[in-house]
């Protein structure tokens, strides 16, 4: 007997079929997702979670000779907003504007830009400033404000040695000027990379993929610059440029034994922390980029060469005429109209052009050129300063028979930088041994290895010649053209220089002069050389002295800088 089906059975059957179809659909999808499309989905998931991030290498720090930071990188905070998330962008702009020092309308414009999902509030704030905003945002429970870290280069000493240190580009921290540019590769380090899994909020997922190729931090640099001496040089130079109405000026202070640059100041200057509105010409490190004809300061080389070659002695007496006519040029001495019998010492002390030309004539062009080159003229003095000019020293084979030798003897036809001339005097101060001037004392790599700079040295003249030259330079300050360079407590020596300013394309200026003074202190036991160069000083002192002369405008700058430097170095007074 056939069994009768109950009505519920057919419904159960339908339900069963429906479940079966549904499970089959799910199963099909499962197989598709987990089987056929597995790789694609895994890749998409990985793409969402796994991020490859660049790790910025911390830029090395630049220190002064005492280990105080001159340039340092810090993690600054950048504040951004997502305008789409802001409840009241206008009110937020009003509240944040005073905190970040931006005009209210500028922030309002950024926050209300249609369709925008990103706007800067402030970039590279220091942590204290950022903390103030963070606290305000947290306390006010404002959504849509974000904080992220960005590296920032800070120059704690501001304009101190700014032309030497230079600066970096804000966006990528690439060195643009000064040591920052010259040593960019060493300072920058090597960027790293990390592969990390992050959740949708950007937090790293524990146990997730985490592969790190760490960044190699940049090397630190220790400079030879002494902050105290640099500060004194900058202050005194700035005052001198203002007082003498000069367009610019330079001071270089060298340690005579080591060739270390203790100070290198240029005026005008700038603050690398805030370059807005700064004149780009202020970025120039004039001590190495600007060339000039050294004038009478180069007589030191002429006379030292003649002494070394036994052509003359300090007491050799020479009849010096009132003027010399050579070729199409007349050579005369300032303030002397009559012929005079002068010793070599007097020729140096009185800075006689005619007397020096006569000494050069006895020496000869070839010998003269040999000493000029040996003292480092015509080649960059230092290897570690960017934009350093090598100057110009015409090869002796190309010298004319008439005015070339005489003009070179008194410091024309030769282009030099203030640093080159400072190193010439440093050689005289260092018993005739020329030492390569330098600014970077040591490079400290990230692994701790230290590379100390070893300057090249070469004897140029004998110690005896150098000593005699120092006595002659002392005479310049005691009774010659450089009396304003005298310091109360120390015996010093030096040489004045005044040259007509050569303007490219126009020739020699009728009005403008380059006034300079380069000196050694103390003269008996030299520690420093100070070179001062003023560009186009104008005016007169109260006694009527013309400021265009190096002995009037530059010599007092030497005295002030040298005294400050000697005090700083703890050199006991030697003058009685």
């Amino acid at each position: 007997m056939a069994s009768r089906r109950k009505p519920n059975d057919s419904r159960l059957l339908v339900l069963g079929i429906a479940f079966a179809v549904a499970w089959a659909g799910i199963g099909y999808r499962l197989v598709r997702v987990q089987g056929f499309e597995a790789e694609d989905h895994a890749a998409r998931g990985e793409q969402q979670r796994v991020r490859t991030e660049d790790l910025t290498a911390p830029r090395g720090t630049i220190y002064d000779r005492d280990g105080v930071e001159l340039a340092v990188s810090i993690d600054a905070i950048t504040v951004t907003v997502n305008p789409a998330e802001l409840e009241d962008p206008v009110a937020l702009a009003r509240l944040l504007a005073p905190m970040v020092g931006e005009p209210r309308h500028v922030l309002r414009q950024r926050f209300t830009k249609p369709g925008s999902q990103f706007a800067y509030v402030a970039r590279r704030l220091e942590s204290a400033e950022a903390e103030q905003i963070r606290r305000f945002v947290r306390d006010s429970d404002i959504a849509g404000v974000y904080f992220s870290a960005e590296p920032k280069r800070v120059y704690p000493a501001g304009s101190l040695a700014s032309q030497v240190v230079g600066f970096v580009r804000d966006d990528d921290m690439a060195g643009l000027e000064g040591i920052e540019w010259k040593y960019d590769e060493a300072l920058a380090g090597v960027p790293g990379q990390q592969i990390v899994e992050r959740d949708p909020y950007g937090n790293p997922i524990p146990q997730g993929e985490f592969i790190v190729d760490p960044a190699q931090p940049g090397a630190d640099l220790i400079l030879t610059i002494d902050r105290e001496i640099e500060f004194a040089a900058q202050q005194i130079l700035a005052q001198a440029v203002a007082d003498t109405n000069a367009t610019a000026g330079t001071v270089v202070v060298l340690d005579v034994d080591t060739g270390e640059v203790l100070a290198m100041a240029s005026a005008p200057t700038f603050d690398p922390n805030n370059r807005t509105g700064a004149d780009p010409s202020a970025y120039r490190n004039r001590a190495v980029t600007d060339v000039y004809e050294p004038g009478s300061t180069l007589k030191v080389v002429t006379v030292a060469a003649a002494l070394e070659e036994d052509v003359v002695t300090p007491r050799t007496s020479i009849r010096v005429p009132a003027k010399l006519e050579i070729g199409d040029k007349n050579y005369t001495d300032v303030g002397r109209k009559k012929p005079r019998q002068m010793t070599v010492s007097e020729i140096v002390a009185q800075s006689s052009n005619v007397g020096t030309i006569l000494i050069q004539d006895l020496l000869g062009n070839d010998q003269h050129y040999r000493y000029l080159a040996a003292f480092g003229l015509g080649a960059a003095a230092s290897g570690d300063l960017p934009g350093e000019a090598s100057g110009h020293l015409e090869n002796v084979r190309n010298w004319c028979d008439t005015t070339c030798g005489p003009s070179t003897a008194i410091g024309y036809r030769v282009d030099v930088t203030p640093l080159q001339m400072a190193s010439v005097f440093a050689a005289i101060a260092n018993d005739g041994v020329w030492v390569e001037p330098h600014v970077v004392r040591e490079v400290i790599r990230a692994d701790g290895t230290r590379e100390r700079f070893r300057p090249t040295e070469r004897p140029v003249v004998s110690a005896a010649t150098a000593r005699v030259m120092r006595l002659m330079l002392q005479g310049v300050v005691e009774s010659g053209t450089g009396t304003l360079a005298a310091i109360d407590s120390y015996t010093v020596g030096g040489k004045t220089g005044t040259t007509e300013k050569f303007v490219p394309g126009e020739g020699y200026s009728a009005e403008d002069r380059i006034a300079s003074f380069i000196g050694i202190a103390p003269i008996d036991d030299p520690r420093i050389v100070v070179a001062v160069v003023l560009d186009a000083p104008h005016g007169e002192l109260e006694d009527g002295s013309d400021l265009k002369f190096g002995g009037v405008s530059a010599a007092p700058v030497f005295a002030a800088v040298a005294e400050a430097a000697l005090h700083r170095l703890g050199v006991p007074p030697d003058a009685r």
Partner: protein, 132 residues
Amino acid sequence: MTATAHQHDSFDLEQLIPVRRRRVRLRPWFVFAFVVIVAFFGLIFSRVSLDRSGFELDDLETQIAIEEARHWDLRVEVARLQDPNRITTLAVGNGLVYPEERIAIEVPGIESEGLDDDFRWAQLKAVLTAQP
């Protein structure tokens, strides 16, 4: 008859050799289930611990980064405080000026050879304390 006898025989045999009743042994299953459960929870616990350690590590790294940033902020602050320009401005504001007349104190024997630093310092102190 024979068949019956056979049947009888086999019956007897079953009577004589009692069939061993199979007993289901549950203890291994319980042990297995226990081990699986313990392993399951152990795995979850270790995973949670690892995750927690991961978060703690992440927090520590963040803290290190914050402290490092603070360290550099403070160093920058110290360098700024040491700025000669700032110190000079403060000094001038407090009425400090360079003396118009410089006085050099000469200490007898201070530069002579053979005297140690302590002796020279004692001499210098004696001179300095004797100043009016």
